[in-house]
Amino acid sequence: MKLLEGVKVIDFTHAYAGPYCSLELGDFGAEVIKIERPDTGDQARLWGPFKNCYSAYYSSFNRGKRSLTLNLTSKEGKNIVFDLVRNADIVISNFKSGTLEKYGLGYDELKQVNPEVIFAAINGFGRFGKYAKFAAYDNVIQAMAGIMDMTGFPDKTPTKIGPAIGDSYSGLMLLVGVLLAYYNKLKTGKGQRVDVSMLGSLVSMAEYPVLEYANFAKKISRIGNVNPYYAPGDIYKCADGYIAISVKKEVMWMPFCEALNLTIANDNRFVTNDRRLANVAELKKIIETAIEDKTRREIVDLLTPAGIAAAGVINIAESFEDSQLKARDMVISLKDPGLGPIKLVGNPIKLSKNPPVTNIPSPLLGEHTDEVLRELGYTDAELVDFHSKNIV
């Protein structure tokens, strides 16, 4: 029996943050019914890249879900939501604060229908204050949270972290909150609301910068790729790209020099960690000269037996060939109904008795509308009526 088998999730999420959370619940067996706008659906269906007119973006985060189209502004649409929520355990959304309330589908209304329901929501800047009504994009959240200021080189511009972490990290935090609330529901029978904001999630990542500033008025800002505590601890250019090397302990300095045939082990400028940190730019030049003809693979093979942490910086194409990521099932293959064969990231939560189910592709828009409505007891005549009135 699957871990969350029988758990019903009514999923109003769209774009990336919310779908990240409901995807995880689906992977562990929850039944996720995704509500989409008739005609266009989730806005991520309009985000590239496209193949056969289908969005590879959308299909990344909606595996394992069923799609029901529904016009939330219609009376019938609202009644269908109430019917769904009546038997649901969890409702998830990531609208701008106040959107579900505007439709008359806020927690207060849904609680009337099902007092035990868990109402989970992600918003942009937090629920309170004048920012609550502002639209949030990942770059704006990374900028405001201080993350952009901390990433990059000191003499260059602040840098956005490439992947949209404002979305996926808040989705992950919502997952933790929802699972806590569901555990509580199992124990006490009671539902509750769970709230996460994109901004609050990213701000919480800044633990040591907060501690440094609050106590010592020290501002942690971007320092590039070097490690402030030990050297070598940086990204180095080599024959076929870049390699990350971390010489974390003093005892590793000698083996590091020997592995790369460096004659600087006893050089006064580098003989202790403090000296190496003081002369970190010179050290980098020497290392890069020593490895300029070597590939990432060759360097890793030299450093690993010496106990030194090293890995080539790999891109997405190379990751598909990486034997470790393969062994961990972190790249999964499936057949998408629109796109055909597709590869996606696997699930990082490896439970021995309940491995995640990752083989169900994302739904076509409204693929399960009739099926879900029939399960709710609607007749064929009613279905025809809903379709003709563009309610579904």
Binding site: D149, T157, P163, Y169, D195, S319
Partner: protein, 394 residues
């Protein structure tokens, strides 16, 4: 009654990710007993920032937890762990994969003693695969997980994600995995093993990169601060810093032009559609927009854009976000009274439950503060405990 009242976690881990996961659970009432090496303790006891020789960082991570000093590799320590395992719900460790087997504390052995046990293993690369026992670091995990290749400017070197982004994803996966296992035990019975790695956790955040490459061969690599699919979605210089602006639709573009009174750009035929704005964006539209943003301060632009509903924010440093009115209004920071440090400011929990209250503390335990209490609970006499301490088993 707190949400996780009655749940006991024995936490042998060190470092950030697993400690943050058990901190989340401790905030909701779980009893967390840290097991630390006698003499040295968890390595985070030495991590900066330090105040009067004590680590604020350690106390932030371990507030409200208990500490037992125990040499788990010794016969005595080993026996005590095996006894404790009978009484706990969750066991957490972050040793080199395979190490626990060598000291007789493998998942299989512990599960035999307590079939309901949830055994949590955290590592850099995971518990299987060719890299399982390779030396790792935070930087190495970023390199390996593609996230670093995707961060930085086109044609320049990749850039490290800050601060400790990967470890935070791992802590979320650990906390979620533990809750999933507890839910399964509650619904279907029995414990199991959870295996979370830093590399997997980071790789899981690379958005649509695998889908894009596998369907249309597009390689999502670093592209700076802008989005190639919509414009201007970017970070611009201003008189006094930087501003991030997110414009994804034509309507937003025209409103932006109105907000900054850019009649010439609004009417420029090249920029009427998103397609036109993204075309050779770095050479065409970007310099024109930056020329205009340079006239104002970052907060002036923010004000003007907000009125028009354009998503935007000044690029804040840590002091600016901490003192921001929105941070206060939404309790992103938590002011705590610490016994050791007095008034302390820490980031709040990133999720809030309406009914189940959480409580965070910044008073971590002294090394071995609860050794006696815990051993006494197992029936060891005061003399026996004294002897363990003398022999450095505790």
């Amino acid at each position: 009654m707190k949400l996780l009242d009655g749940i006991k976690i024995l936490d042998l881990s060190t470092g950030l990710a697993p400690a943050l996961a058990t901190k989340y659970l401790a905030a909701f009432g779980a009893e967390v007993i840290k097991v630390e090496k006698p003499g040295a303790g968890d390595m985070t006891r030495k991590w900066e920032p330090l105040k009067d020789g004590r680590s604020l960082y350690f106390n932030y991570l371990n507030g409200g937890k208990k500490s037992v000093a125990l040499d788990i590799a010794s016969g005595v320590g080993n026996a005590i762990i095996l006894e404790l395992v009978k009484k706990i719900d969750v066991f957490v460790e972050s040793f080199q994969p395979g190490y626990m087997e060598t000291i007789g504390l493998s998942y299989e052995i512990l599960q035999d003693i307590n079939p309901d046990l949830i055994y949590v293993q955290y590592s850099t690369f995971g518990d299987n695969g060719p890299d399982k026992n390779r030396p790792g670091s935070s930087l190495v995990a970023q390199a390996k997980s593609v996230a670093m290749d995707m961060t930085g400017v086109i044609g320049q070197e990749p850039i490290k994600l800050e601060p400790s982004v990967g470890e935070h994803y791992a802590s979320g996966n650990l906390a979620a995995g533990i809750m999933l296992a507890l839910i399964n035990r509650e619904r279907h019975g029995g414990g199991q093993k959870l295996d979370v790695s830093l590399v997997d956790s980071l790789f899981n955040c690379i958005e649509a990169a695998p889908a894009a490459y596998s369907t249309v061969g597009e390689i999502h690599t670093r592209k700076g601060n802008f989005d190639p699919s919509c414009a201007p979605y970017d970070t611009f210089k201003t008189k006094d810093g930087f501003i991030a602006i997110g414009i994804a639709t034509d309507a937003q573009w025209f409103k932006f032009c109105d907000a900054l009174e850019l009649k010439h750009l609004k009417e420029d035929s090249r920029f009427q559609t998103n397609e036109g704005r993204v075309d050779d964006y770095l050479n065409k539209l970007r310099p024109l927009v930056e020329k205009e943003t340079m006239i104002y301060t970052k907060s002036e632009i923010e004000e003007k854009c907000r009125v028009e509903g354009i998503p935007c924010s000044a690029v804040f440093d840590i002091s600016e976000i901490m003192s921001h009115p929105n941070t206060k209004a939404n309790h992103f920071m938590c002011e705590l009274e610490s016994k050791q440090f007095g008034q302390m400011c820490v980031p709040n929990l990133p999720f809030e439950l309406g009914r189940s209250t959480a409580e965070i503390s910044c008073d971590g335990p002294e090394l071995g503060a609860n050794t006696e209490e815990v051993l006494d609970g197992l029936g060891y006499t005061a003399d026996a405990i004294k002897e363990f301490v003398e022999n450095q088993h505790c």
